[in-house]
Amino acid sequence: MSARLLCAFAAFGFSLLFAPLAPGIINRVKAVIAGRQGRPLLLLYYDLRRLLRKEALYPRCSTFFFRLAPAVGVCAGITALLLVPFGPMGSCAGFPGDFVLVAGVFAVARFTLMTAAMDTGSAFEGMGAAREAFFSALAEPVLLFCPAVLCFRAGVYSLAAGMGSIPAAAWFNDATFYLTTGAALFLVLLQENCRLPADDPDTHLELTMIHEVMILDHSGPDLAFLEYASALKLWTFCLLTADMFVPLAGGPLFDAQGALLPDAGGRAAFSAALTFAGAVAVAVLVGLVESVTARFRMERVPQICALAGGFICLAALAYWRTS
């Protein structure tokens, strides 16, 4: 196993471990802005431990699909993390076209979660599933198009090559392009992870919820798996957005065989730390956005996708003009 793969797997393990931190960071930022004490940073870890010890309840009319969703959600998050690059460390299992697979595995998770919601026969969960299906159908092309535009540009078709290590010179040369793409990706992050202004993760009114209403009937370990799955998804999107905003200073870190170049060790550690800081910064940004905006009315939620689509189309046009 080459040095690069080792680094990638280490980063992957790190992500699995630290993913539940992201919701904690967002909540802490919101609390600080609002002048509250706020929840503990590690609350989700405690919650997961508590839920794993509880018993699971299943609605009487539910079937196999209701039990399938938690495992599929976590599996989708893990698979996506195997493909998404951790900065210049690259990804563990990337291949040309892996950005389609990332969108695909999240689609699978969504499909099973929506079917699990409809499996309960509940009006509210059906409503949540309908909203999720509608809004994510609008977000899907933008989610696919963001990495694709980078691939058109670079002529390589994997996330690691297209997004993982954007050289600093190229980034500053064309900052508008990368910033616009990053903005589109950030909006998709808000929409896909059910953050404000698309959906309010803290709401307790079934009529206004999207993601939270779909998991109303899950309990105990299943709920823990679902919570972990959504934390993994949020972390994946944070990493993707951070990859856009954090260029790689200096030359490449690894040679073609994946061995660490001499005297690149320090830079590798620095850029890994920078990527982690970038992902945390994205989470902080989400917290800031959540502090200053209210949830949109349902019929205005598609405007987020439209804005993201507008950004990414601008980026594509900018690339086309300059190429």
């Binding site: 609605p59 009319c61 495992a71 079917t115 059906g126 092309p141 696919l144 299943d222």
Partner: protein, 659 residues
């Protein structure tokens, strides 16, 4: 009952024979075999020549496979039909359709192709119309062209079938008319072949064949027969029509493109435009339907659109000498033909099992079937997930290749307007796949999950063993075809040369790119499956204690099945958002009194193209016919006046000619 046993006899011969033929076609494709056969039969214009080459093999494989599947389930479907149905005639036309499709693909001469095409197009009409009781004359047609609303489920099956049969017949023959036009253009062209023609002639031929073959494969504005015919067809016929017959349209288009040569840029743009239109509007219409089979039929229009989009992208890439993009798009298009055949036949088969067991396929009346028909439900879920393009199932693989082809094309043609077209196509394909996930989640979730919405579900009985075996076989193929990506690509590789020609060094490079990529995709997908198995195990172990309880209904203890989200409410958000495109008919009850009585709210998404065609093509005929009625009033003296006028006119004409 003796007739039903005879029908079982068809199965004994047809199923093994077509499975064997399918294996032969696979072997022929693998080796890239080319054969030809000339029979000394007198034909009016051409000669009786048949040929086999890799491209033909690509289209033969799903045809043979689905003929085998359809004949396996045939006796069960016949037994489920009305008593007294004419099994013998049905069997005859079934075999005629199957052999027609197989021969159309192999015909190597124009007139022969047209004759076989006509045979293939006619057979489904008889299969559609004669599936009810034998009658002296055709039943009266259903008067209204669209019956997709939630209220419109009272019309009897026989008149449905007759209407479907008629609209099919008209559409098929209008399409064939354009094919005749194209062939006439071709025959009257200069002897030097397409290279020596003016661009106008080549374009005319291309447009005519696009309309003719597009009508067969159900491209968007020409799809009007598809929802009717697929909804009315019995299971085995729907399998053949949706899985195999639609492909014939694609085959026809590909063959035309091959014969016309590289052609001009316009072909690529038209193909991509037609594909994008069909894909977007097909899936939009599918998302608002309230009948399972109609959803599936509209989704066929969507998938044919994807295939055309990819073919157009391949042509465009070839024009710009982007071999890698062309190969990726072509491979994606051909694989999508196969994958669509597999998923769609699986879905129609299982939808038909629902129809036979509950006598309805209307989503608002279904629900909770997963508990009653677990096997059918699982197969339907697999088919839905596959056709929605979810990894690691088969349609994802072809869509991955198409996405990559478009991305590669956008890179290779950077700076030209073609790059913009590739990018737009990428975005359109993304929208289509997002919408198809919406559509199939809605379809599967509302039909099979939750609580039954009407009493119809109580007497659900499980389908016969043959249908279950066929559905399991198709579902298994959907999964394996997705995972065995390198194998699938190796199979279709000989056929790709038809698209890219022999640009040896570049082609080899592009082929190497794909052949390196696919095993890595398979590895990633298998790794994801392994991760899933582990996570599922962990989840099961974490679930130490569990019990059943009621569903959370917001602390209201009297929740019931009627409170579930309905088919209309699920789609309403999207329908309202896309109102200008879908133009639904929304009914909202007006509440005037203080204590209003029962009322119904909902919407229907009528098929606007059908209404448009009827308005543009048939209403003038009806108008003229009505006007002509005035001439026929039964007064003898005026009839004699007609004769006098006719005689005078003839006399004047004759005098004029002689002088």
């Amino acid at each position: 009952m003796r007739a039903a046993e005879d029908a079982a006899g068809i199965r004994l011969i047809t199923a093994p024979a077509s499975l064997f033929a399918c294996c032969v076609a696979c072997a022929a494709l693998w080796t890239g075999a080319r054969e030809s056969l000339a029979l000394p039969l007198p034909l009016p214009l051409g000669e009786c020549r048949f040929a086999l080459d890799p491209l033909r093999s690509v289209f033969l494989i799903p045809t043979f496979l689905l003929v085998a599947v359809a004949s396996l389930v045939l006796p069960g479907r016949l037994a489920a039909m009305d008593e007294g149905a004419d099994y013998g005639r049905h069997g005859f036309f079934f075999c005629l359709l199957a052999s027609g499709m197989v021969l159309v693909v192999q015909a190597a001469d124009g007139p022969l192709f047209l004759i076989l095409w006509e045979i293939m197009s006619l057979a489904p009409f008889f299969l559609l119309v004669h599936n009810g009781k034998r009658k002296k004359s055709l039943p009266e047609p259903a008067p209204k062209p669209h019956r997709d609303g939630e209220g419109g489920h009272g019309s009897p099956a026989a008149s449905d079938a007759a209407f479907a049969g008629r609209i099919y017949l008209v559409a098929a023959h209008l399409g064939a008319l354009f094919l005749l036009l194209a062939f006439a253009c071709w025959e009257t062209g200069a002897a030097g072949g397409p290279e020596t023609w003016t661009p106008a002639r080549a374009r005319l031929i291309f447009i005519a064949t696009l309309i003719g073959f597009g009508a067969k494969c159900g491209l968007f504005p020409l799809h009007v027969w598809m929802p009717e015919a697929h909804a009315a067809a019995p299971g085995h016929v729907a399998v053949l029509m949706s899985g195999a017959m639609l492909n014939m349209g694609v085959y026809g288009l590909v063959t035309t493109l091959r014969l016309l040569g590289p052609g001009d840029l316009l072909f690529a743009y038209i193909l991509m435009g037609a594909g994008a239109l069909s894909g977007l509007f097909g899936i939009l219409a599918a998302s608002a339907q309230s009948d399972m089979k109609r959803v599936l039929a509209y989704s066929s229009a969507e998938n044919m659109g994807i295939i055309l989009l990819a073919l157009g992208a391949c042509l465009l890439a070839l024009q710009h000498d982007a071999q890698q993009a062309a190969l990726l798009a072509a491979a994606g298009a051909l694989l999508h033909v196969w994958n669509h055949s597999l998923c769609k036949s699986l879905l129609f088969l299982t939808a038909n099992a629902v129809k036979e067991s509950l006598h309805t396929t209307l989503i608002p009346r279904l629900g909770g079937l997963q508990k009653r028909l677990p096997f059918t439900g699982a197969c339907f879920a697999a088919g839905s997930a596959a056709i929605a393009g979810l990894p690691p199932l088969n349609c994802f693989l072809s869509e991955l290749l198409i996405y990559l082809g478009l991305a590669s094309g956008a890179h290779a043609t950077r700076g030209t307007e073609a790059a913009l077209v590739f990018m737009a196509a990428f975005f359109v394909l993304g929208s289509i796949s997002g919408m198809s996930l919406f559509t199939f989640t809605r379809l599967y979730g509302l039909t099979f999950l939750g609580l039954p919405r009407s009493g119809d579900g109580a007497h659900a009985r499980k389908p016969d063993a043959a249908l279950r075996a066929a559905a399991a076989f198709l579902a298994l193929l959907c999964v394996t075809a997705g995972l065995a990506a390198p194998l699938m690509f190796r199979l279709i590789r000989p056929a790709l040369l038809f698209f890219t020609g022999d640009h040896a060094p570049q082609s080899a490079e592009a082929l190497a790119f794909i052949e390196e990529l696919l095993p890595r995709y398979t590895c990633a997908a298998s790794a994801a499956l392994a991760v899933f198995a582990l996570v599922r195990l962990a989840n099961a172990r974490a679930r130490r204690a569990s019990r059943e309880c009621g569903t959370w209904t917001c602390a209201y203890p009297y929740g019931n099945a009627r409170m579930q989200y309905s088919a209309a409410s699920f789609a309403l958000g999207l329908v309202l958002f896309l109102k200008p495109l879908l133009r639904p008919r929304i009914t909202v009850p007006a509440i005037r009194a203080l204590f209003p009585g029962a009322a119904e709210a909902g919407f229907s998404a009528p098929d606007r193209p059908t209404e448009l065609w009827i308005k543009a093509l048939f209403q003038p005929v009806v108008y003229a016919a009505n006007k002509a009625k005035a001439l026929q009033h039964g007064l003898l003296n005026i009839y004699i006046l007609y004769i006098l006028i006719a005689l005078t006119a003839a006399l004047v004409w004759a005098l004029g000619v002689s002088s």
